[in-house]
Symmetry: C2
Subunit: 407 residues, 2 copies
């Protein structure tokens, strides 16, 4: 007998028929003798509707009230799934964030889970009752509902699995696993049998939408074996997230991620002197803008230089505003920006052992006539910023070059 956590996203619980199907998948695990906790998202479209209403009433709404409104979506699904399970003879009850409780930080709208008390759920699991956990939500220290940010139900599921010391956390979604890259733009993309936590973390944070980044962090930290598999074809193999040591064949590159949510800002002829970075990035941090890639040219005359950095496209206007408000303190000649850029990344733990991996990337892109605007690297990934119109071409060329295409 194992203890397992199952997670179902919005498309998996989009209507009553799908909720019944999810109930049958849960029953299958119960019939196998497992203790089961299920984490659910809101029905597809529900969160967008609730977010839309809140924004329409006030673009600058109180994040605490936003949380009250949107958390209702997962509450509804949790109750409905508990009813659907009872209807097929499976003992079940719903658990809301405040009932467990799932304690989070006070950053309403994008809270972080701080602790989950497994005591009450464990008692019921031991009695053979399925725990249906409303994902995405918790309770902050002010005794108010908090939510974890979009995709947060993945994080709820993995955190519940860690708290329950579950043997496995199965993330059911509308694809049957993690792919070498987005199959919508590369039909030859292959499903990965296994992927190392570190690689998945880079994939998620560099644009792969299959798991929320924070959920991978928690899985890695608590060594929760996570499987990604399809709700609609649960016998397909799926992908297992595991330790690096569990992966035998380490190719140089495991996967290719891309993100269109990028914008580039260049400040020309800023003073080439200590402290200038602080005058630029301080105001951006104060404005809540996350800066990603940064490149500073070598100065020609030792006095003035150019600086380029990237931000999320949705934060471009806010970033430019913060820069222009601090124009005199920074002392640049002019500022230009480009919202038509994208980031393409190659990821793989094998990179550590294979020199020349980055060089292949630069050569392939050059052969296709794609100009690299900014480069950033870490031990297991290389990211480049290119014009957005070349994204598909670049990803397909790299996918072939690193021998990821399906045979």
């Amino acid at each position: 007998m194992s203890k397992i956590v199952m997670k179902f996203g919005g498309t998996s619980v989009a209507d009553l028929d799908r909720i019944r199907h999810v109930a049958s998948l849960v029953k299958r695990e119960v019939d196998r003798g497992h203790q089961v906790a299920v984490t659910v998202s809101a029905m597809a479209g529900e969160t967008n509707k609730l977010v839309g209403w809140t924004r329409e009433l006030s673009p600058l709404h109180d994040a605490r009230e936003y949380d009250v409104v949107v958390a209702a979506g997962e509450q509804i699904t949790a109750g409905l799934l508990a009813v659907a399970l009872s209807a097929i003879g499976v003992s079940a009850r719903s658990w809301l964030g405040w009932q467990i409780p799932v304690r989070t930080s006070a950053m309403h709208g994008s809270a972080r889970i701080e602790s989950i008390d497994p005591t009450l759920m464990n008692e019921r699991l031991a009695q053979g009752q399925v725990a249906v956990v409303a994902g995405f939500q918790g309770i902050a220290s002010d005794n108010r509902i908090s939510t974890l940010g979009r995709g947060g139900s993945d994080t709820s599921a993995v955190a519940v699995a860690a708290a329950l010391q579950a043997d496995r956390c199965d993330i059911y979604t509308d694809v049957d696993g993690v792919y070498t890259t987005d199959p919508r733009i590369v039909p030859k993309a292959r499903r990965l049998e296994k992927i190392a936590f570190e690689e998945m973390l880079e994939m998620a944070s560099l644009g792969a939408k299959v798991l929320q980044t924070r959920s991978v962090e928690i899985a890695m930290l608590y060594r929760v074996p996570v499987r990604v598999l399809s709700t609609f074809d649960s016998d397909a193999g799926g992908t297992l997230l595991c330790d690096e040591e569990d992966i035998v064949e380490k190719k140089p590159v495991t996967g290719i991620a891309y993100s269109r949510d990028e914008a580039k800002i260049t400040l020309r002829r800023i003073p080439d002197q200590p402290g200038v970075a602080a005058t630029i990035f301080g105001p951006l941090a104060d404005a809540g803008v996350n800066v990603d890639m940064i490149v500073q040219n070598v100065s020609e005359d030792g006095r003035k230089t150019d600086l380029t950095f990237t931000v999320s496209r949705s934060e471009l206007a806010r970033a430019l505003d913060a820069i222009e408000k601090n124009a005199s303190a920074i002392g640049y000649k002019d500022v230009t920006s480009d919202g038509d850029v994208a980031k393409v990344s190659i990821i793989g733990i094998g990179m550590r052992a294979h020199p020349g991996v980055a060089q292949t990337m630069f050569r392939v892109l050059s052969e296709k006539g794609i100009n690299i605007q900014v480069i950033s690297t870490s031990e297991i990934k290389v990211s480049v910023l290119i014009a957005e119109e070349y994204v598909e071409l670049a990803v397909r060329a790299l996918h072939s070059a690193y021998e990821l295409d399906e045979a």
Copy 2:
């Protein structure tokens, strides 16, 4: 400065524009210097949608999960109204049942409020913050969400007013007060300036849909001055619920109520002996069927008699089932039922001082050729059961006969 509670029903908060309008009504009271708590229902149609989903998944659903699902409706409205209030500069926060807390009985789906702790809300009200309370919901002793039954937001509002010792509880709805009878069938119905708690209690329990019965009981018990007024024309006069002593002119009849949710069951030739009532009504009570009017004929031979009683139409099948399962214990010859009946009632505290009020009712119905099937009376009301097809005719004739028509 007064402390007031305002309550808005589902049609008053049916969409974002109406929620904004409600926010403006709340702001008006805040601008007058009042401390304000607002109780809200789910957006019109939302509760029906959630109830429908739950029933479709399982007709015999767990009432605790039903409560989890449907309570989400009021949660959403409470958050949205708090956002709408902040957007027009009114400090506000939402309060869910479990946060206040509103403690209720464990009868999930139709729980009764047992206590409301006013401490936290009073602190915030004193700071000038509007309390937006999710109606219809509380928390039971099992730490799970409970709901109060349909129309329960009225009860939430009056109970919050009692707990806060509010100076007034204003129930905003889609009509501008309590009428002498349903204006949809009697165009000459008049709005009542005042109505005694006792009369309102009878009106509500005999079919007038303007307030939930339980809310009137609480208002009467705690002497909460309740006003019923229109959301869409809040300058119209409304109706004040008050003590009997505050009503100067006591007409014999104040109002006429009717209910189509009636069915009649007759057991023929049951033993005319002590204990037979228990053999009939015991099984009905066990089946959760509420029996309303009861009439037993004088037996002709001293040994056998007929018994007729009424139940809610939706409970007819269940009632017949319970009777038939106990056929041998009861010992009737046959059982007949009629679902095409309705109850018409006249209500008025003036009845106590005016003899002959019931006689007028019987005469008027007789003149119209309407047969009275069952009669039940109390100190301040007379109810009769008639064929449903005569309801409008009966109500209009009685409305004229008791001089309730608008001049």
